[in-house]
Symmetry: C2
């Protein structure tokens, strides 16, 4: 019984030489992977600490976690977490003295600037949360929307620590009357000669989202890396990645949504062929979703007769994920999968596993999650011009062959 399913040689392999790989008797697909890695773009310097063999470098501001690199530990380690920055990261001088970073809090009774040093005295909370780019799954749209063609790897499950926004707001007398939105502004340096509104990172979410939001200084047990928004990032659990403002320099409670272009025209669910405008739904709350991380097509042909552990991740966005079903026949029939590992709270993802015995044949493996509000992951994607919010279980299915 030599089922090579969950046993993909992974990142460590790519640190060896091709000769060493050959010596270890590995299958030809991994030689192919090595060649691919050799041809891949190198890591940008400011994320040079990432595991190169775990990520796909799309550009200097976009890295995707390889589907085969996701482990089963629940937490995505920082060195394999995806990256998607709308603007180049600020200079590293901003993390030389992290506690000196200042954020202006406005739209409250007593608006003022606070340093990270002060924020650290006001409260402490930790949340485990799926961070996901709203374009994750764009690569499955046949329309090939512009933007990074992410498949599943523009997501991770991350632990954040910081001060609850509600504690900060309480210390400043509460939210001013009539403020319906929480608007965060990033501290990226803007290019000169361009209307700042056309390029700045500024997003609004409903003010109610402040209940579980953090101003965070720590990610996965360490000060937030510069590339991921350190020294201070707005964390809005359950909301798509773009709403979690990096290098946050202003947190304002506002009567209206931001009129920055990234809010008014960007990240809108516009119809195919259309353009984004403020009348369309914005990319905000995440929806229930799951996908399989093993086995994958790149496992190659699997040996027959053995047991297979089909495993992946599932999350519910604003609601906790309640259950996951797995299909080995492309969605004709479903079996209930089992969650493994701890429940890390409603904003975290859960690892699931289904044990199956697969006779020789070709199998289309799919997963379908349900959240505690009763929402079921749909079969089909919601078509939209920019390829946002793809939760289709059919798009995320994988085909494997058993010899």
């Amino acid at each position: 019984m030599t089922v090579a399913l969950t046993s993909l040689p992974r990142r460590r392999l790519l640190t060896g030489s091709a000769a060493a790989l050959a010596g270890a008797g590995l299958a030809s697909w991994s030689q192919g992977a090595l060649a691919q890695a050799a041809a891949a773009k190198p890591l940008p310097a400011y994320v040079g600490w990432k595991n190169a063999s775990d990520v796909i470098v799309h550009s200097s501001t976009t890295l995707e976690t390889k589907r085969s690199a996701f482990g089963t530990s629940g937490i995505t380690p920082s060195n394999q977490l995806y990256l998607r920055n709308n603007l180049p990261a600020p200079d590293a001088t901003i993390v030389a003295d992290r506690d000196a970073w200042e954020v202006t809090v406005a739209g409250v009774k007593s608006p003022r600037k606070l340093t990270v040093r002060e924020l650290k005295t006001l409260g402490l909370e930790t949340v485990t949360m799926v961070l996901q780019c709203s374009g994750n799954g764009r690569g499955f749209f046949p329309s090939k929307p512009s933007g990074t063609p992410w498949t599943v790897g523009a997501a991770g499950c991350v632990v954040w620590s910081g001060v609850p926004v509600r504690a900060v707001v309480e210390s400043l007398g509460g939210v001013s009357a009539g403020m319906r939105f929480m608007t965060g502004t990033g501290g990226e340096k803007l290019p000169e000669g361009i209307d700042p509104k056309s390029i700045m990172v500024e997003r609004s979410v409903p003010a109610a989202a402040m209940q579980d939001a953090l101003l965070a200084w720590e990610m996965n047990g360490e000060p937030i890396p510069l590339a991921h928004g350190g020294p201070l990032r707005l964390i809005v659990p359950g909301y798509q990645g773009v709403n979690n403002i990096k290098y946050i320099k202003q947190l304002a409670f506002t009567a209206q949504e931001s009129d920055a272009k990234i809010m008014s025209h960007g990240y809108r669910m516009s119809p195919p062929g259309g353009k984004g405008d403020p009348s369309q739904p914005s990319v905000q709350e995440m929806s229930v979703k799951s996908w399989i991380n093993s086995p994958l097509p790149e496992s190659g042909t699997l040996a027959a007769g053995g047991t297979v552990q089909i495993q992946g991740v599932a999350f519910g966005g604003l609601h906790a994920v309640k259950g996951v079903e797995v299909s080995i026949d492309g969605g004709k029939t479903w079996q209930k999968a089992r969650f493994i590992g701890p429940d890390m709270g409603k904003y975290a993802w859960r690892q699931f596993v289904l044990q199956a015995r697969l006779p020789a044949g070709t199998y289309t493996l799919a997963s379908r999650a349900t959240d505690t509000a009763g929402n079921v992951q749909p079969e089909t994607r919601g078509e939209n011009q920019s390829g946002y919010n793809n939760t289709s279980w059919a798009d995320h299915a994988v085909k494997v062959t058993v010899a």
Copy 2:
């Protein structure tokens, strides 16, 4: 209000130059820390991927996490996790093809060798667990026992993934009659010319510990690093670190405890002045324990009048931790602390926090944990020759000054 308590400049700082630090206007203590770091031993090559500024290098096989480096995220990132190897790690060739590693399972109805590749077909589970060296806290013993003088940093909370030992045993027909212990043998290369029993890493725990034990291949979302026991490690949740056998090459259910010296005479709770022998209790289950990670004496003098977030970690060993109290007067009075972040299961630690306002003065901060079985962390250590199992809350207290 400029309380600089939880705002210690940490690891990132030490990557800058002294001049940059001076330019950032940092307090003199951090200049001292820089000088200390410069004088510290460099990281051994096989753990060169660790964050040098987060750890104290005691020797090539012993690294301690700095107390000030522990974050508040629950999980200890691999790059700051302590290291304690009884023997030098095997050559890195053993992780070139991880799935080919073999473990012999004995003391079962159908004993045989299994590869990691086969193990991965038999089951999948994930556990979050405190990994702690039994000598953690030895540095607080006034008797200065021989061995590494760990204070709090020979511990971390780590996520492990692998196959449940009970699933492996079931697949092999169950444990043979009369077997009372689960005995793991490490795959370290033994020096020649020495009786193997005198040096090998082989430990026995009660067979019942198999219920929650794993044969693990993943740690914190990545294949287990060589230094931490990859490609395969026996994980026995709730048990002291030494029982979690690295590079496991044999897992045997046995009628007797191992007669290897590390079991028969090492890691025994021998009386002060005595020597270890098999009649004394072995270092096995962990006990309820907690400590404060911020503020610390190295915070320097704190500014008065502000709020302080006193935070640390607490765990219960074999039982879940139920609650933590914090004292600001060296244990005369206690206040209930609040847990933050998710409950990651009974073997994980919990982060706790107590918000306090401290007028000018000197404070002795202590924490005292209680587990679900009603065990309370004691005031005093249990004296023993080798400095094991130090859970004294008094030893772990810290003194801070508010100006």
